[in-house]
């Protein structure tokens, strides 16, 4: 009855998908057991103890402490198994592996704009290599969207004014649905796209193909120069602003005595609203760039800053 046109389960196209489905099967088994237990009990009792005469008086049964404890403890144990299992999966899907390929995605009503590190950009399509972890850095230009790939069993809200991340490893080449899952206005159901998973060599050819204006990092470096960032943020701490070399992932001491780990959200805020968090020992003299750099531009600058490792020096080669 359920042929290829009426599937019951979605395709498994990521390393995570079979693991999510395994928990699903467990949940289905638990549900089937309890649904059958309850419905069979009801049907059996309703027939076996049907009212035969209006004068019958059933025995007095008030309850049973033993049974109450039993049917409190058993569901509690089962739900704890489900909780731990689900939390473990969540943990795995939360932190991207360090070798993940980073791709920037900017959402807006009603399209997905993708920026590959090599400089290639695309709209409503995302080409990725199979067998390689991919980390998406997501943000929105307007309302909340949600990046949902059913075949990968992953989903993440895409928020305005901050970054969220999502990672996955596609397990087989093919074309899969990309849906916006968070209601975002009139054309919400039109905010769909395709994830195109390619064999790594084919991907390398695709992503190296012509028509690009240089890598994201290079574009970021250019912005870094033209916006004047480079006049204060020198490779060493001798400038008016702190050095940005090796900044990402480092703990930064702030003027107000607190400290913060420098992640993408911190970089973003410090570019757009530099006065929100002043680095210890520096003056709040940096101009506010909010409104003068596009979301894509901010992502490019961040990508450049992330490339500034002590080994690579200030050249930004990656």
């Amino acid at each position: 009855m359920f042929g290829p046109n009426l599937p019951l389960f979605p395709e498994q196209a990521s390393t995570l998908a079979p693991r999510v489905d395994a928990l699903l099967y467990f949940l289905l088994a638990v549900s089937a057991f309890f649904s059958l237990l309850i419905s069979i009990s009801i049907v059996v009792f309703a027939i076996k103890y049907r009212r035969r005469s209006d004068s019958e008086r059933p025995p007095l049964i008030l309850g049973s402490l033993g049974l109450e404890i039993f049917w409190t403890a058993v569901p509690l144990a089962i739900t704890m198994v489900i909780f731990v299992w689900g939390a473990k999966l969540f943990f795995v899907s939360f932190y991207p592996p360090p070798n993940a390929l980073e791709i920037n995605v900017v959402a807006k009503q009603w399209m997905w704009k993708v920026q590959h590190p090599e400089g290639k950009s695309e709209i409503d399509e995302l080409h990725i290599p199979a067998g390689q972890p991919v980390k998406l850095l997501l943000t929105s230009q307007d309302v909340i969207h949600d990046f949902f790939v059913p075949a990968f069993r992953v989903k993440k809200d895409v928020l305005p004014g901050r970054y969220t991340t999502l990672w996955f490893e596609a397990s087989k080449p093919g074309t899969y649905h990309l849906f916006c899952a968070q209601y975002c206005g009139t054309q919400h159901s039109g905010m769909v796209g395709r994830i195109i998973v390619m064999e790594p060599p084919a991907y390398a050819t695709w992503v190296g193909g012509g028509g690009t204006g240089g890598s994201t990092t290079a574009a970021g470096q250019k912005l870094f120069q033209t916006l004047g960032c480079a006049t204060c943020h020198l490779p060493t701490d001798s400038g008016r602003g702190p050095s940005l070399v090796g900044l990402i992932g480092k703990t930064v001491a702030l003027q107000n005595g607190r400290s913060i780990t420098a992640d993408e959200n911190y970089l973003r805020e410090s570019i757009l609203e530099p006065r929100a968090k002043i680095v210890m020992g520096y003056q709040p003299i940096m101009p506010i760039f909010k409104g003068s750099v596009s979301e894509e531009g901010v992502l490019q600058i961040i990508s450049y800053i992330k490339s500034l490792t002590p080994q690579a020096g200030a050249q930004g080669k990656k």
């Binding site: 999510v20 309850g63 569901p75 209601y183």
Partner: protein
Amino acid sequence: MNDSVPEHRLHYLNASYGLKSWLLTTDHKRIAWLYLISVTFFFFIGGFFATLLRIELLTPQGDLVQAETYNKLFTMHGVTMVFFFLIPSIPAVLGNFLIPLMIGARDLAFPRINLASWYLYIIGGLFTLTAAAAGGVDTGWTFYTPYSSIYSNSNVALTVIGIFVTGFSSILTGLNFIVTIHTMRAPGMTWFRLPLFVWSHYATSIIFILGTPVIAISLTLVALERLFGLGIFNPELGGDPLLFQHLFWFYSHPAVYIMILPGMGVISELIPCFSRKRIFGYNFVAFSSLAIAVLGFLVWGHHMFVSGQSIYAGMIFSFLSMLVAIPSAIKVFNWTATLYKGSVSLDAPMLYALGFIGLFTMGGLTGLFVAALGVDVHVHDTYFVIAHFHYIMVGSAVMAYLGGIHFWWPKMTGRRYPEVLARLAALIIFLGFNLTFFPQFILGYLGMPRRYHVYPPEFQALNVLSSAGASILAVGYVLPLIYLIWSLRYSPVAGMNPWKARGLEWQTPSPPPTDNFEVTPIVVQPAYAYDVLDEPEVIYAPEKAAHV
């Protein structure tokens, strides 16, 4: 009491006549009718929107209505059903009618506040209907920011003002119930002799009072941001869009329990009556209602697992959400155990009750899927969630509501309802409901997102099944509307206690007199004393007994 000549007896329905005697009444039983008529009206309005949605979804293309219209339809469906039907349905209709009768009181503690509650509900409803008539609102019933506060071009402010006003109706009803239950119980009606219907309404009232102000203020902030550009939720102005989700779900998750707890109370009355048994584990059923009310306030973050909230918040909310399953399971097991060795009669209210247990079990179990972090990431915002909450809020809550309406119809009207038709309607609703919503579980796991006007063609077969089920369900809902109205005039007179049920409401004539009891009863039996069905449940003080 002699009920062979009820037509000539003075009761709450014939005590006075005219529209004014209804619109200015302070009798809780008449106010219950005002609510019954209004929530029925809103139910069919919301149902009309749902019908259009299901017709649109028959095909993958957007061919019946425009995307904008579709978005307004699902928003108005949700707003109407949640705020103007489900939340008031059982408490304001059955709770209003029954709580004073069940505890042996003449009315609620604050009869005029009770009437004011209905007016607030109607004023709120008029705002929302005006918003619908003036072009509708397209934010979804969840009003997520910054879409609702900045980007939407529809009547958001008018709608949220309507919900804000209606919220006060809930708060006042909750207050009224709590005070009434504390102070107006008849002699002998101790806390642990209270019908479980009263316990579950007590738990519901706590949520009304503690939760509703939060939704009121969060929707007010949305309106203020829209009208005056306050930067509460808009990140452009330094606001936080996720703050809205925290505030919204802090109320709206407990609101799910507002919708289901009163239904559980109804089921706890129906099962003992139609099994002629004391309820199994009275204390456990009673306290599980309170446990659900308390835990309900601690799980809102499970709506935000993929929103970007911290991973540890996600884990805590997942853990607490798992715990809600326990009191729910306790109830289901105790209801089922009540049938054991009973004297089971499958009258229409009992069919609704047993259907409730089945649908609630499925709704509850699929709640585990969405509470489990790893699986929720996949099914969040898909049709799986739609199916899950409809099993609870429609499958269970509406089954309970209709079961209760049938059960107490003889008390409310003095008439029976047509039994065969009623059983048929219960079966049609059960089958139609499952056919409508079960395919949506599969659709959701396959990945069909909610609120999609246009969808990929491979989802069509399951959508057609769902729409077919919806047409059966619609028949099931229209049937009772017709035969219950018909029964008002043509059905046989019911008598005081047609079910041989326990409970003080059955110790007074049908329909009850305006003052409920001519003499205050003294309760001498525990709740559900079906084991001593032939012994009196109440006595009357000797010096007053002469008047009975």
